[in-house]
Every structure is written in structure tokens, then in C-alpha cells.
Amino acid sequence: MAFDIDDVREKLSEIEGQPLWRSLESLVETPTFRAWVQQEFPQGADELQNPLTRRQFLKLAAASLGLAGLTACVGQPPEHILPRVEEAPEEVVPGVPLFFATAHLLGGYAEGLLAESHEGRPTKVEGNPDHPASLGATDAFAQASVLTLYDPDRSQTVTAPARGGRPGPIRTWNDFLRTLEQTLGAQRAKSGAGLRLLTPTVTSPTLAAQLRQVLEMYPEARWHQHEPVNWDNAYAGARLAFGRPVQPVYDFSQADVILSLDADFLSAFPGRLRYTRDFSARRDPSGDPPSMNRLYAVSGTPTLTTAMADHHWPLRPEHVGTFARLVAQRLDVDVPVSGTLPGEIEQAVGAVVRDLQNNGGRSLVLAGMAQPPIVHALAHAANLALGSVGQSVRFVEPVPAGEGATGQTASLRELTEAMQDGDVDVLLILGGNPAYMAPAGVDFAGALADVGFSAHLSLYEDETSVLCDWHLPQTHTLESWGDARAYNGEATIIQPLVEPLYAGRSAHHLLAAVLQSDARASYDIVRAHWQEQSGLQPTQFDRFWRHALRDGLVPETARAPVDVTLSPELAFPPEHEADDALVALFRPDPGVWDGRFSNNAWLQELPRPFTKLTWDNAALVAPALAEEMGLSNGDVVRLRLEGRELSAPVWILPGQADGCLTLHLGYGRQRSGRVGDDVGFDAYRLRPAGAPWQAAGVQVERTGTTHPLASTQNHFAMEGRGLVRVGTLSTFREEPGFAHEGEGDHPSLYPEWEYDGYAWGMSIDLNACIGCNACVVACQAENNIPVVGREGVKDGREMHWIRVDGYFQGTDLDAPRMLHQPVPCMHCEKAPCEPVCPVAATTHSAEGLNEMTYNRCVGTRYCSNNCPYKVRRFNFFDYTQPDAPVQELLFNPDVTVRSRGVMEKCTYCVQRINAARSRAVQEDRAIRDGEIQTACQQACPAAAIVFGDISDPETAVARRRAQPRDYSLLAETGTRPRTTYLAKLMNPNEEIA
């Protein structure tokens, strides 16, 4: 991008004490910026100069033209072409995107990415196939990260809120650095006795090194770490079991029988994408004889993992403990058991253990972050007993750096106490949002008032920033250099794709300032660190460095496994009495995690698994409790815990353990931005520091008020229609074609249409799909799909081209089977939508695509009515109008941005098909199988989606469709879908009724 953002920053730094500007509009005053905007998006520019009037005018114009019926006769505004001045680097070909290896961070752990750049603007990220934590897959968070990059609400300059609790006046980095220098001067005298640093989990080798240097420079200083979603219990469990805080790394390709003790390894573990890929691979029954792994799961609240389980028992937390003890005991672990389980589950334990033992080392027991240390210790003991250590699980030194990492809640409490005692003169907060995310017991926000000098480096000017003296804008991962480790310790260099859009700088830069080192550019710092690490000569290192950047991996950085033995003094305490007090379970939100994504509209509008809730969190309650209290969805209840109060709407969730109430973190934010402010309720206010995951004794009472919740799905029963077809492995062995029972053949009265050449088709394996929503956001990012907001969703107008339908199955309301079914456009060969369109806006291509031509669409919506799958989406309003021009940079230039009043839907990513074709034509060859990946397929961690040419029997998709499990959705309507499904298989243990 050939524009000089530095000038803009310079201009900004000149503005002193000007009232705060929150959005780009107020920047227009600086001519440099206007010039840049003019270059980058001419439309945006005049938009910028008079945003309101122009929009109004356009609408009115549209209206009057609509009246006159002349819209088609209006010419386009004259456009300019702005070529570069300097010659372009040879790899830069205008119109051809470039991909750079980088990483996305969640909880400090790296997820390898390949980020797509169009003429210098990142528009989309894909997984890095070479990265162990990705294997080419991505999750919803990574996919949505590009939206955060262009979020106009991101803080755009240094400010000095002076703990005012309100956004502060504008300052410049120089102002800050000067002040910092002075304050640190005093600290150097007392060797940093009053200096504290607070970071989220840090896996970045460079950052860790810098922090260590700081601690060397200021011996008395302390480095604290805190994230609300942390693994304290796991490390404590490891300490208990092995005497030291090691960290398990699982290998699900080696696991045939898995017991999950409230362990949501498919969506909440570091390395979850890799785990999903390996787990799903072992559920593919196409081998001979057909075989699958088997998953047992116990948990208090449904998770993606429990939904995949062949046996799922909803259990109250202490029952999960009892279950773990019973299992361990039967595996000859010396552990006292006093608790009892509901009858049939107790009996099942025996069968489970036998199953585990029969598979020896190829079985696996794991515990979730919410489980107390004892359960983790029991799991470790069980794995040792089963001999799976070294096979399906190995242990490594903690991947995060710093001793604070393994006891984060304690670390934060310690810091807070020090602050309250006035021992903290200087507090530097490098990322995170502790004032908002601190557990209820720990009054970090209050304590900030007792700190001499506080500065907060973060993406947004958030709840913490406004309580500090200084707020420092942080760079987005796509904006700055850095590095981070994956779940197995392997390191990735984070490359920026774009100059910082605003005044953001990285933690590396800030620490360099603290260290008073001359190298202040993140690039130099990171590169220097690795040069030192590699110990190579500059010339050799250049090669090393180039490869590391290209592959997105630094060789030989994976953590080596360590040998573990049960520590001699391991003794399990007796169980304490289980009462039937109501338990509050605190969990990260599947959409906004711990709240860091709450200003990301894609994630806010992402239908949560099972509830399909958007734009809200709710207290999830079991049907039994709802019945007992006469609650229905949306009723607001008052929750009391340890004297604290919170009002929350309830959502009744089958499969929720009775006596458990799930509260998702990350909502009720005050300083998140125009998207995330005042959405949902803030569960942190109720979350006890002592029991951050499951707190007994919560009281619930009705308030009589209701809060309408926006869910994208209102009916979760299949009404006996064979939509998701499910069988068991044994029935499949006997009768592979079970999925087609009672299915007649559906002849067509019309002559067959000949498809020579490619015939595009898709296959979705319901046995692999875990319902993680990655495909939904990937599709949204690839295809410029707008969000419609909470009201839009309530009105049933969400725009997702691919949705994940959820159904509950079975007679047991308290423990139903939960099914996922991704539903994109089926691209029917006898598409019902096409003949009813009066203007031929939706037609069939010679390769069997059901094409949607937006610019021809007049919006009769007949096609949507006539679509049995209801996959068509309509622009009821002008949804694509960006809030701020910067958001136009996000649009994928290869996909039309749809206007008001037109229909849209899944296109099989036709832009990718066309791109592949033009490559093939230029290279005089045919399109290769697998060369075209649809956005959903590419993102899918479970490899559930396969796309390709079904006319060639050799392609992956054709082989899939040849499988006996292959079936068409609603085949009886005679639509002949090009998208078909592979039936789901369960692998229950016959011993268990």
C-alpha cells in the first residue's frame, strides 16, 4: 500500500489536547490523510467529507429513480487509475494476491496462518498446512481477526486518561516515552522495587527474553501474568501428580478409546485444531474392516466434545470427580472414593474401564481446564496405568514462559494486593484487559488508583486503559513483527502484512524502551533474538531466517517430551460430601472467548453451538430446573453468589447437567466499541477467584422481566424427517447402505441435462463435522457477507451463506444426542429456485453451478420461497454500507459487494473456481483435484468438507460420494443436490445399554 501513514501519525502527534476522536471521520481535518484516502478509495473520500448527506442523497436518489424506474440508465461516476510511482517489487503483480506465513494467537498459543494480501491489504487468512497446530485449518477467531484489524473502534493514538475512567486527551508516543524515562529513572535507583509488569500468557520467545532482561536490569521488579481462561488447575494437577508443572501434549491419531473428564479438547485446548483433525480422522469408517475410535464424555455442560461422544453423561462437577476417582480406582490407582453416581452411570464405569484397558496404550484419559487439580492428577495417573503416556499423550515443559504462567489467578491476586499496599510505583500492562477480566474477589480495577504510574498497551482503549495514566495503542498481529509458540512449543515468526493503520506499537517496542536499547523496531528485536538463538553466522542465518519466514515455522523449536513418574508424596485427599447446591459453571464464550473479541461483529453474530444464540450470552439451564422454576427462554433471573448479584436471561439447554448453570464470560462490556458495548451480562462480576470455573451455592430467582434473545434457530427437533442420518458402527458393518432405508428412487419427468467438462460438487461428512463454526466465519470473510445486527437476527434475516443446523435427538430430554449439519447451497441439478426467477438472475452453469447473478436480481424473493433448504439470503436493507471507510479495505476484491434488494447465497466460491481456471488456462493444463478449495473446506479443522469435480471418479469428492454413507438431503423433493452428506456413525459400547 503506497501511502505514508507516518505523515498521518506525525500530523496526529502535533494535535495536542484536542477533544478525543474515536473514528476516522474526525481525521479528515489532516490533509495528508485526506490525500491518502483519496488514493486508496476515492468513493470513500467524499463519503468521508460529508458522510451523512451523501448517504441520504443516495437513498433519496435511489428512491426517486426507483419511482421513475430509471435506475439502470444511470452511468457510473468517473474513476481514476493511480499507478505506483516506484517500480513494484517483482513478486507484486497487481490483481494477484500474495500469501505470507504468520500466526494468530489465542491464550498466547500460536495457530499458523497464511495471510492473503491484495495490493498490500490483508483481506483473509488461511491455515498454514505446515504448521502443527493448524495443518491448514483455522478457527472462527483467526478467520475473524481481519475484521478486528480494520475495526474503526480500535484505539488510534496514545491517550492520557489519567485514571479518569473516561477516554483521555490525545498524546504522542514521544510524550509517553519521555515520561516513562523519568519514572524509570527513579526505579533504577531502587533496582525496580516498585516496578511491576503484567502480561497475558506469553509464549513468545523474544518477548520472554526481553522480559527476563528487564528483570535482570531491575532485580526487584516483578513480572505477573494473567488470563481469565487459564490452565492453573492443569499445572497444579501436574505438580500434584509428578511434582512439577509439566504440560500434556496429546496425539489423537494414537487414541482408540478416549475418556474426556469435562475436557473440551475439540474447542478449548491449545492445539484444538490439530486435535480435531486427528480425532476426526480416526472416525472415518471407510477402512476395511470399518473401524472408529470411541469417545466417552462426562461434563456439566454440553461442549463440542460431548456432542461428538459415543457416550455422554451430563454430571454435576463433584460427580465428574467421583467418576474420575472410580475410573482411576479400577485402574489400581490408590484413591479413596466416597461419592456415588446415578445408578446406570455407576454401572457404566466398569464397562468404560474395561474398554480403556482392552486398548491399553491406545486409550486416553483427559481432564478439562475447569476440573480441579485432583481430577487432572487422576487422569495422569490413569494414563500412566494404561501405558498411554508416550503413545497417545506425552508431557513437555510448560510452553508459556515465566513462573507466573502456571499460577495466573494467584499471580494477579498477588499483584493486586501489592498495588493495594502501595508497593507498586510503576505498572506496565502489556495487553489484556485485567480491570474487566479480573475475578470478582480481586479488585484490580480499584487497586489501579493506588499505583503511582500506570500504562496500558492494548488494541482498544478499554475498561483497563481508562483507569491508567496512559493508554498506548497496540499493533494487531497482522501489523507488527513478533513470534509465538504452538501447543507443542514449535515457534512461528509473526510477519506483518501491513504498516500499522494507526499509532499502534508492539510490546517488543515498549520493552525495548524500558530496556533503553537502541533497537526499537520489532523486526530488529525479533530477528536479533533468533540470530542469537540460532547461533549462526549472519550469512547462514539469512537463509535460516528466510526459510523460517517462508515456512511459518522455526526448525527444531518443538518441546522435547520429558519422562514423568508419579511423585512419591502423591496422596489423594478424600472426597468432600456432594450436596445438591446449584453450581455456576464459568466458561469462555464460543464467540467472544474471554471478551477480547466482543467488538468483532462476525463473532457476535456467530450462532453459538446448541443454542444458536447471537449478540448475547445467557444463563444455560437444564430443562429440569427450568420446569421446576417455570422458566422459559429469555426470562431474566437474578443470580446470587457469595453476596454478589447479577441479572441474566436464561436459555434452556437439553444435555445440561441438572443443578448446573452455565455462564459464558466476555459479555456486558462497557468500553469495547460500538459493536460490543452493553451486549449481554458480565459473568466476571460473579466469578469467584477461589473457584473460577465451578462455584457451588448460586441462588436463582425470577425477576418477572424478560429479555428477547436473538437465536438463528427456533426449532431443534427433526420432526421425524431423515435430515441428519445416524447409524452405529455395527449396523454400518452389517448394512453399509443403512442411510438409504425407505428411500425410493426419484425419477425426473425432464430429460437429463448433459454435463461435459467439470461437474463441481461437494461432500460433507457428518461423522467428521464437530460444529465449530469455522466454516461460517471463513465463508463470511471470503464472500464479503455483511452482519445484520441483533434486530436483524431476531427478524430472521441473518446472511450466513453456510449455517450449521443443530438438532437434538433421542427420547431423553436431559441427555439427548446432539447433531450438527452444515448447510450451504446444495447446487441442485433440478434447482427449484431457477425456473421461478422471472429475470433469469439465478441459472445453471455448464459445470452445474447454481449461479446467482446479483446485478440481474430484482428481488422477487420467489427463489428463496421455493428453496427447500432455505439457504438463500436477502438484502432486506443496505447491509454492506461500512460504518467507516477503513472497513472497505477488508472487502475481497474478487467478490461483488451486494446492494440492497438482491438475493445472495453460497456460490461454491466461484471466484476461486474462476481463479483456478485462469491459472490452468495460462499454464495450458486442466484444473487439478484439490486445486480449488472452498473457503469453508479450507478452514474446516475436521476435514469434513470436500469439494471438486464429481465427473472424474478419481477425485476425492467423487470417491466420497461413492461411499455407501453418501445421501442427499431431502432427496424426495427431486432436487438432485450437488452437495451431499455422509451419514453420521456412532460407536457405542455394546456393554452399555
Binding site: S748, Y750, P751, W753, C828, E829, K830, A831, P832, C833, E834, P835, C837, A840, T843, H844, S845, A846, R976
Partner: protein, 181 residues
Amino acid sequence: MTANEQRLYGLMAEFEEAEHLIEAARTAHEAGYREMDAYSPFPVEGLAEAVGYRPHYRMNWIVVAGLAVGAAAAFGMQYYASVVDYPLNVGGRPLNSWPAFIPVTFELAVLVAAFAAIFGMFALNGLPQPYHPAFNVEGFARASQDRFFLLIHADDPQFDPADTRRFLQELAPQEVNEVEP
């Protein structure tokens, strides 16, 4: 005299009853008058025949033609659009989905035929004709209300201002008027 003849369009007799007019017309026709016209406030059975009009089926043929033209044009257009000009695979249906083309064909046929019927009628009746000498006659306004008129044109070969007036008088009308051109 001749001048007088020139400036005469015809003679018009006014009657009170439809029956009276019919038989007046008949006698006039028997008397050899050919260039006649009769006016009545509503269609009167047999009046047109009485003034020597021979009914024929031109109207019907005009309408049939309209039907044919409309239908042919409509189906032709649809066939050309969907098979010849831009053949598109629409929901796997055949290009020439003739059953789907029937409704439009029918509608257009009817439309053209209806226009034919109306404009055919206008054409044959020589309408619109806002100006007509008959309107010069005092009291002709009642032709559209409650009176019946018989007009003998001046250009009838047998027409003679005096004789014809006498002849009409014999038919015992309310009155007889000269019609200026």
C-alpha cells in the same frame, strides 16, 4: 335551387316509437331510397336491416386474425428468447419448455384480439367522428335519450328536397328537419 340542394346534407324525420321508425325506414326503402340512416337511443332489433344494411361477419374475422397474430408472436418470442438467442440451463428444464410458454401465448392472443375487436369496430363505424352534420339538427340530442330519427341523405339518387320532404311527412313523424352539412 341548385345552390339550395348543395347546402343540404339530408332530411331527417323524428319519431316517438321504435316500431314507428322501423316501418318508416322500411317504407322509405321500398320507396327506393337507399342512402338512409336511422338513429335510436338503444339498439333496435331489425332497424339496421330496415335501412338496407346487410349484416356480414367482418368483425369476427378481424378478431380471429387478432388471435392468430397474438398467439404466433407470443410463442415465437418466447421460443426465440429461450432457445435461440440466449439458451440457459434453468433448473435442468429443457430449453424449449413449451408447456411453460402457453400462458403468455394465450394472454397475448387475447390481448391482440381484444384490441382488434374494438379498433375494428371503430374503423368500420368510421369513429371517432366528433363532428357530424346530423348534430346540426335541433333536437337530435334526444337521439341519445328517447327519440328515434330517420335520415335520408341528399346524395341519394332519388333525393329531391321537396319530394322527399313530402314523402317523409306522409310517414307521420313528429317533425321533419333539414340537415345542413
